[in-house]
């Protein structure tokens, strides 16, 4: 077990318990929370955990700021969509799309890194912003290929769709969607464990050293540019793989679900809320954030109803204000947990 976690223990009893609760909830989500909407939420949490963890590899472990993470996520998603359309529905299309998406992401990351990381790390942030905007524009312009703003619908193997009925288990109808969920769950788990291994490898230690003091890292013999470049490619490829899982799950890709700058901001918030440079922070950040995104409105609607006799309060709690409250939650969490939830739990304060 410890080997699976690469020796990186949660190092806090509370954190361990929270992580176990999340793990069990996600592992048995189809049976614990039957219903289309809750399964959608669970799958989204799994995928965002990987997406956020891969961003943490860059931001938290390597000290590199990138604004192109959704672009890489999108490359994986569009890879699956395009291959499924052009090769026809089938597992081969899923595999080809996934592999090509990851390779394209790594190659693009390599180019961006080589052009900008040699100069200065801050330059990298600006280049990623420019490239990501250009790609977003390109995707919406090339509507013949990408479906433009409408995105693409496509078919995946029937085994993974609700049409594939498999009977009942524990009183819950099991079908292809359940299988699809487990593909997402185990795929995400494997990718997360892989990232956890990378940050605890000799390579991961070098990244931390570079983050701490790149000048000295170079002076003891590490070629800083190469380490940063490899970290960038790895992070991009993992984001693309998460994107492929997302595409397989949704059977739809569009600029809003994969490429948008809003998602980029969400990822940033999730890393910061969870705790940068901890990996486990990705699990907490993504879970909390996706839950809030999906259920805050419902919760506020209920609260608004319950307080309808009071003055002002129901207006403040109106579901339309959910973004405002999400903002407030974010500010509070950064204020009270500057090192993220994981940092806070580990320090025991």
């Amino acid at each position: 077990m410890l080997h699976l976690l690469s020796g990186d223990k949660p190092r806090s009893v509370v954190l361990t318990i929270i992580l176990l609760v999340i793990l069990i909830s996600l592992a048995f989500a189809p049976f614990l929370f039957p219903g289309v909407r809750s399964l959608e939420t669970a799958a989204r949490i799994c995928i965002f955990i990987v997406l956020v963890a891969s961003y943490d590899l860059l931001l938290g472990y390597s000290g590199i700021v990138s604004f192109a993470h959704t672009m890489f996520f999108g490359l994986g998603a569009y890879g699956v969509a395009l291959s499924s359309i052009h090769m026809g529905r089938g597992y081969d299309a899923l595999i080809v799309g996934t592999v090509l998406g990851a390779i394209a992401a790594a190659a693009l990351a390599w180019l961006i890194a080589l052009f900008s990381l040699r100069v200065r790390a801050i330059f990298f942030a600006m280049i990623t912003l420019a490239v990501a905007s250009a790609v977003a524009v390109l995707v919406s312009q090339l509507s013949g290929l990408t479906g433009g703003e409408d995105g693409l619908n496509y078919k995946i193997p029937r085994d993974l769709t609700p049409a594939n009925r498999l009977g009942e288990f524990l009183g819950v109808k099991v079908n292809g969607k359940t299988l699809n969920y487990y593909l997402v769950f185990f795929g995400s788990a494997a990718l997360f464990l892989l990232l956890l291994r990378v940050v605890n490898s000799p390579f991961g230690r070098v990244l931390q050293a570079i983050r701490e003091n790149d000048f000295r890292a170079e002076a003891v013999g590490y070629r800083v540019v190469w380490y940063r470049t490899v970290a960038t490619c790895l992070s991009a490829a993992t984001a693309a793989l998460a994107g492929s899982l997302f595409a397989i799950w949704l059977r739809y890709v569009g600029p809003d679900t994969t490429l948008s700058f809003e998602i980029m901001l969400d990822i940033l918030l999730m890393v910061v809320i969870g705790g940068m440079g901890t990996m486990y922070g990705a699990i907490l950040g993504a879970t909390l954030f996706v839950l809030a995104q999906n259920y805050l409105q419902t919760l506020m609607g209920a609260a608004s109803e319950a307080t309808h006799s009071l003055p002002l309060v129901p207006h403040l709690l109106d579901p339309d204000r959910w973004l405002l409250w999400l903002g407030v939650l974010f500010v509070l969490s950064v204020y009270f947990f500057p090192t993220g939830i994981v940092g806070r739990l580990r320090n025991g304060r």
């Binding site: 080997h3 690469s6 020796g7 291994r197 990378v198 605890n200 490898s201 000799p202 390579f203 991961g204 230690r205 070098v206 931390q208 050293a209 701490e212 003091n213 000048f215 000295r216 890292a217 170079e218 002076a219 003891v220 013999g221 590490y222 070629r223 800083v224 380490y227 490899v230 790895l234």
Partner: protein, 254 residues
Amino acid sequence: MSQTLLETKDLTVRFGGHVAVDAVSCAFHAGELTAIVGPNGAGKTTYFNLISGQIPASAGSVSLLGEEVTKFSVAQRCRAGLGRAFQLTNLFPNLSVLENVRLVIQAHRNKGFSLLSMADSHHELTVEARAVLERVRLDTMEDQKVTELSHGNQRKLEVAMLIALDPMVYMFDEPTAGMSADEAPVVLDLIAELKAERERTILLVEHKMDVIRALADRIIVLHNGALAADGDPAEVMASDVVQEAYMGKALENV
């Protein structure tokens, strides 16, 4: 003379119009400890920066073990056998003491691009790192973060990281600056030990005359970036150049 490990030829750097290091030609040999002296601002640290590659030279060349390295990056020079401890403490502040040293040994052993093994499973690196920490008497603090260490202990760690690198050329830039009187000997004894090994060459920037007298085989004097004297310690120390420099007078007439 024994083997030349490091040589600079007409090494020069200009910052704007100011010549900080001025055509310094000097060779350093195996088994030799060379003290580099000169008043503040003489260009000692800048000379080190040129040798280790932090600053590109305006003119001249550096060779290491017979190979010209003037065009090499800092990391490449390090890999070619050059090791440097810094005047201003320059560590990995939020990592543990052990990790700081372990990282150096890992670089030396070329394990940096191992992505899928666990860092802690490379026991041999940890064992080596502990042995180095023992030499500087920091072994009891291996789990502390660098930021929790006293200034003196940070200086010791700085030296430990250089020893962990096991270079052919050791460069120490005021290694005992700011250390208390009872801490400095640990570092000085270590330098003496390294010197006794006789295979490497050691460059030591140091102000304290008693330290130089005890350790140096040779002294070079930098003044306004230029080489003002080079030779046997007793002779150089007796010379007008050093007398004036350390009396605090300007050396306008050298």
